[in-house]
Symmetry: D2
Amino acid sequence: MRQIWTDLALEAGAAELEPEVRQLEHGIEQTTVSIRDDETAARFGRPAGTYVTLSCLQSLSIDLSTREALSRQLAHALCGMLPKDTERVLVVGLGNRSVTPDALGPRTVDRVLVTRHLGACLPQDVREGMRSVCAAAPGVLGVTGIETAEVIRGMTEHVAPDVVIAVDALAARSSARICSTIQIADTGIAPGSGVGNHRQALNLETLGVPVIAIGVPMVVYAAKIAGDALSAFAEADGASAEDEQRLAQVVERVVSERLGDLIVTPREVDALVERMSGILAEGINLALHPGLSAGDIAQLTAQ
Amino acid sequence: MRQIWTDLALEAGAAELEPEVRQLEHGIEQTTVSIRDDETAARFGRPAGTYVTLSCLQSLSIDLSTREALSRQLAHALCGMLPKDTERVLVVGLGNRSVTPDALGPRTVDRVLVTRHLGACLPQDVREGMRSVCAAAPGVLGVTGIETAEVIRGMTEHVAPDVVIAVDALAARSSARICSTIQIADTGIAPGSGVGNHRQALNLETLGVPVIAIGVPMVVYAAKIAGDALSAFAEADGASAEDEQRLAQVVERVVSERLGDLIVTPREVDALVERMSGILAEGINLALHPGLSAGDIAQLTAQ
Amino acid sequence: MRQIWTDLALEAGAAELEPEVRQLEHGIEQTTVSIRDDETAARFGRPAGTYVTLSCLQSLSIDLSTREALSRQLAHALCGMLPKDTERVLVVGLGNRSVTPDALGPRTVDRVLVTRHLGACLPQDVREGMRSVCAAAPGVLGVTGIETAEVIRGMTEHVAPDVVIAVDALAARSSARICSTIQIADTGIAPGSGVGNHRQALNLETLGVPVIAIGVPMVVYAAKIAGDALSAFAEADGASAEDEQRLAQVVERVVSERLGDLIVTPREVDALVERMSGILAEGINLALHPGLSAGDIAQLTAQ
Amino acid sequence: MRQIWTDLALEAGAAELEPEVRQLEHGIEQTTVSIRDDETAARFGRPAGTYVTLSCLQSLSIDLSTREALSRQLAHALCGMLPKDTERVLVVGLGNRSVTPDALGPRTVDRVLVTRHLGACLPQDVREGMRSVCAAAPGVLGVTGIETAEVIRGMTEHVAPDVVIAVDALAARSSARICSTIQIADTGIAPGSGVGNHRQALNLETLGVPVIAIGVPMVVYAAKIAGDALSAFAEADGASAEDEQRLAQVVERVVSERLGDLIVTPREVDALVERMSGILAEGINLALHPGLSAGDIAQLTAQ
């Protein structure tokens, strides 16, 4: 079997795992798949745990009420994964703020409502139903010279949260997934492809607290687009095993010679990152501060 | 023959036209090709005139002195195309400022040294060897509701320049061209693909003055990457004419179904646009103000 | 009388003109003042016409529903000033996009729903109750070398709108006005102080169509803050006419020596411009497209 | 004596301490002042140590060669403060990236050449005369919910540098200092006014390693401008002690009622931050990597 390189569990053969599919409000489809044992985890090349995927049309094509519904459904999925009696949360935005398709994590974190400091600094701003939330975008190794995972470990020790939520831009296999899919997983983040390869493992084992990963595909690697075209051609052609092998060799050559690090992304990626970071931050804020309305949050995060 | 969709004359079969190739300083290669008659113009699908191409490594990989050399060589090529006794110049930056890979024109224009107003407003700032230069980035039809070409026609009438220089982001056929090639043409700009399809013809005929086009490939269409991979496969395969046809059908299907408007671009496109707009503006400034040194220009454009 | 330098009619002695004050929804106060004859116009140093001012708390302190109310009230005031049977509108954003407090006009225009091109390009997107709207941010003289008013005159001739709406950042006399006041005037814009002095007259006389000006104070000149402090001191002091004169001399010296071009602005001016440009664009969109709901507009402008 | 609120030692009465003043290249003036004992420290309200100040014209008014000279002189002053045998350095950029005048620290850090990771990741990029440098912009309390000093303490423990360099935007007393003065101090940073009050003490005592502070005034508080105007008036007036007191009361009232948090800054603050962060980063890079030329650094930081 050709290796499939994607950050989405849904694209990595989840069909075999009998995912539970539900139609939610506003045309949003939710798919839940569980990897329950180490053997399955090894087969799919990703850690055991639950993967919830919310899909709809690409985020520039959906109206305001669908965006609000996405945030609500994200909040709902997140709430289902928060450890019981969660009081303190650290939200981290992974990725490089200066590279647009990789900036989803940092820009989401910019819009998360932080409250951890309010008790000491602004006690009059503390309200019922607010959790203690802090947030950081630690940057990437190439820019800081420090492993992201190390910085987050240090913060986790200092802040002692009950759970860490990590937001990251993903790479998908299919371009149709770009900015149209949100994956929420209670597995943490394993070293992987991502947009910028900026991650070491962030999980219960390395941080000492559960890690919920929220990711949205922002790019497809150009090499994969080429591979897909060839694959479609081979299928149409009724390719033999021999053909298949020749095909794989051609892909490898094209990739290494010409496509290198190139990414495939929509022209409007600046607007897409802006839009999607708003949806994610809204969902996170609703989940973490159940006592606040969407209006309260809009007002508090504006300042 | 398969249709080749590119904004670069060099990629559109220029080899047949016996281009003149010269090795310049710092590893820069200059290729000059002329389309001399209407028949040739029709065959290559682009207007008659002279196309100068400067190529080197991608602009993030080159050192400061090579960047300066690129600006100098651009200035040199531009000077060769300016009408005799040019006194007044209008520089226009085409493209959408809010879409990073399409923002090359507007960002270049931001850094062009404008002087047209100095005589009236700041006579003490006028120096020997300064031409009268004005500049504008009129935006794109989808954002303004007005045809770009119409806005530029209005400005040209008002300003009455001796020549218009139009800067634009291009789409190339080969990803290796992205941000490593500058095309300068005395043909103006014909309606074409571009990054955002935002152009109607800008040329002597439509504006009444000569138009020099400066362009740099910033993207390759994803559809083309897929096509190239298939093409490489077919070549490796020794494909028959029949195969070739089947291939074309597959490409068409993949394109229309999945790749749509997607672009292929380097991850660092934000930094690349910043870098390349600096190189272009420097070249334009040197060409238009022969009495000023690079240091003078750096100081004057900083304010 | 000390000369008072402000872009707000309300600060220029409007109290004498018996303004009509109304309390609107959400704590918004509307003040309407008319300058009816040339003598009054000369006395107040601004053109005859109607000035409507909407005031509330500074825009970072107000909640979402108050923001929506501001947009609605702006739309209402605008509708009252649109010429009867207006079909075509040109919206222009004045100011320098690269200078944050001066970027209000350009950023508002970025979010205006333009429709002028839809009939020809995207007829399926045309809806009932849409007017033909186009928009432009022509930049400032120092950046383009072309008088803003000239560019707008050229566009007005080409587009032939029934009315021009000009959006601009203002300078106020009182810092409490910053980002808390919207002025709408049917007088057009006269050459004045503004943030960047980038305006020549834009009005019925110069453009041939009525011009509605929308402005929001974004700065106070530092010189004025100093003057206000001195003025407060003199009042507290029961200053004599002689003192007053000495005072004026000191102010002049402090200003010319040290404060020059300095502006006083809130630290959060980036966020304020973002916020206020959203409120203005929403108000303009509601006024110009009465057939569309706020939700329709949010969806259409997102793309 | 009226309290003087400034981040610059030079403005806090340093004249009494017999500063050493030297005229350097390109019109740069260097002033060195030492606070040697606790008593003097208490009198001037700032920690004991050496304060070097580089002054020249405001950074938008100086030419390229003066900018380069400023970077060189900053590098020279920094080198004089680095602990003997420094091998590892952590550079931190204080301030809020989203508030332009407060973004100087984060934007400087974006341009610092980090090398700490090269040994492990890119050994071929390690060169002679490179120190191990890492860098971070930890954000501000209001955005992250975590005390900046805590985050930096955690990083310092993890990275174990020989010295920390902290870059910050300052508030000055005189508007003439804005973007025209660089202060370098071996004292670390004490809790103080700053632009955003985002600092707890960062010094040998709190971090366990020496801390060098680099700061540039970006704003003056509006309240201070008013105070200065009054003060100039009182001087011109030959004010009595009684007057002086009345004056102080007026200032206090004006401040609390109207100027609040307002800052005074040049209109071009966006461009100034861009310019000055480049000068600081260049100086830091030259000081920390003595084996690299300015050209090497330009090339390495571009990627």
